[in-house]
Amino acid sequence: MKLSPEQQKALEAQKEQCPFCKIIKGEIPSKKVFEDDKVIAILDINPANKGHLLVMPKEHYPIMPLIPPETFEYLSIKVKQLSKAVKESMLVFGTNIFIANGAAAGQQSQHFMLHIIPREENDGISMFDFEKIEIDAAKEAEAYKILSNNLPRMLKEVYKRFPLQRETAGALGNRSRTAGSSGFNAGAKIGYNKEELLKIIDMNPQLKQAIMKNPMQFRQMIPQNPQLKQLFENIDVNEIIETVSGKKMADAIDSEFDAPQADSSFEHDIRHDDKFKQIQDIIDINKQTRTADERSYPEDEENEAANDNDKQNDEDYDIFDVIDGNPKLKLLLIESPDVLKNKIEELSALKETFGDIDIDDLREQVIQRDKRRKNRQENVDEDNEKKEKSDDIEGLLG
């Protein structure tokens, strides 16, 4: 996960105030039981039990997804070793390891930490004695569908360490369509209210376009498409359409003064935002949407071309992925487009990729996109996909 500059600034400010960073620096006294260059463990001032440890990375990370992989791995091993140390020193057979992500979960500090709590029989700690509840089967089935699609997809990099045992829809990796096409991810909450829905529409320009350009058609589409139907359940469609179209006027005026935003490239960025991939797919019902992954190998594209009718439309946005994933290619495009044009003639693979696209036009668009990209938050998945691709196409270019 990367942070935008504003978020980065906020993080710096947070670090200054963080009492645990001060403890780590030594400005506030504490009972340290373990310290090395990455991780520190201290006794909790308000312990649940004698020997309650707080284990944290020395670097300030407010939430778990921000921790870099090496630190995270190191931390997990240390937790295991520290739990053993606690068991041996406190003469207990059980410990609880507890992580709270978010205030709703009981996170009390902005500095990510794990708790190791030694446990004994009748120690009075009941917070881990959970009760079982009844769950609505339909809701559960839906949650299962969402999670079993999304989780393997997210774990793509991590499951390479241990081979995958199940072919779930999400786990198929390179060849799969966007996870969204088989699961509904953008908020499995049943029933939105108007504000939330408007937010979702705002974040999905394609959806917005669909509503604005052809509200009548969109209205008809809703009952036919189960996912749209769910989105608009209990909501006045007309109200939404009015609000969205009303907004359009404001947007149109604003955009006159903005840097030219080629709509296709903006949509393209959002495509990589996990949450909203699903919404994009709802709109693309007639288009065959494909992930950037599927465009990774020129050989594959030859096969795809044979099967695929809508290739032309897709090329425009996928091409940006290919370019971004191949720094050499990008450099060539920006600095010497003529050389690139020649290469395209020479290599059939490149020809397939670029097809009939105007190289100069493409160059302009890439340059503009880059400018905007600098300010935008990038998705980790996107980075990983690019790494895979660049390994292959770089070889092709030589």
Partner: protein
């Protein structure tokens, strides 16, 4: 183990909603959920405690837990997540097999993860501090150095983890409680 419910899930003797499975770990939707979206992640090999599990698999468990928490956060619209490992005897563990619980949380969802801070005298705190520090200091030593510091009592305690229910060292514990 015929008795272990989790092993039965791994061996497919029992139906379960498997979300993720690789050769080392598995993630399923709990069928005794504490809250909607409660997920269990466990290693395929039967172990009661985290300390028995191989480092690589421990790391894998944490990774899967971390990404599961993110998946829950995005997919189920949770406001927060809890990752809980009940590690060993008397740790409120529900199964004889190590399980990592991942719970989606929302404000006022009925689950309380606050504890009553125990009042511990400063002397007690110091003694606890010293004891844990001694044991924790060994962590970063090399294997050879570890063998030198390994006392018989330590060995006895580490193997105690593997015996499922053993009452032991109550006398020593008693000693430690005398102010």
């Amino acid at each position: 183990m015929a008795e272990c419910k989790i092993c039965n899930i791994i061996n497919k003797k029992v139906e379960a909603k498997i979300i993720y499975e690789d050769s080392a770990v598995m993630a399923v939707l709990s069928d005794e959920p504490t809250i909607f979206g409660h997920i269990l992640i466990f290693p395929k090999k039967h172990h009661l405690t985290l300390e028995e599990i191989d480092d690589k698999i421990v790391t894998q468990l944490f990774y899967v837990a971390s990404y599961t928490a993110t998946a829950i956060f995005e997919g189920l619209g949770a406001e927060g997540t809890n990752i809980i490992i009940c590690n060993g005897k008397d740790s409120s563990n529900r199964y004889p097999h190590l399980v990592v619980d991942v719970l989606p949380r929302k404000t006022n969802d009925g689950i309380d993860t606050k504890w009553e801070p125990k009042k511990i005298t400063p002397e007690d705190m110091d003694s606890v501090h010293g004891r844990i520090k001694d044991k924790a200091d060994i962590i970063n030593l090399s294997e050879d150095e570890k063998k030198q510091t390994n006392s018989p009592q330590q060995k006895q305690l580490s193997s105690a983890d593997e015996l499922v229910y053993e009452e032991d060292n109550y006398l020593v514990r008693h000693l430690n409680r005398i102010p």
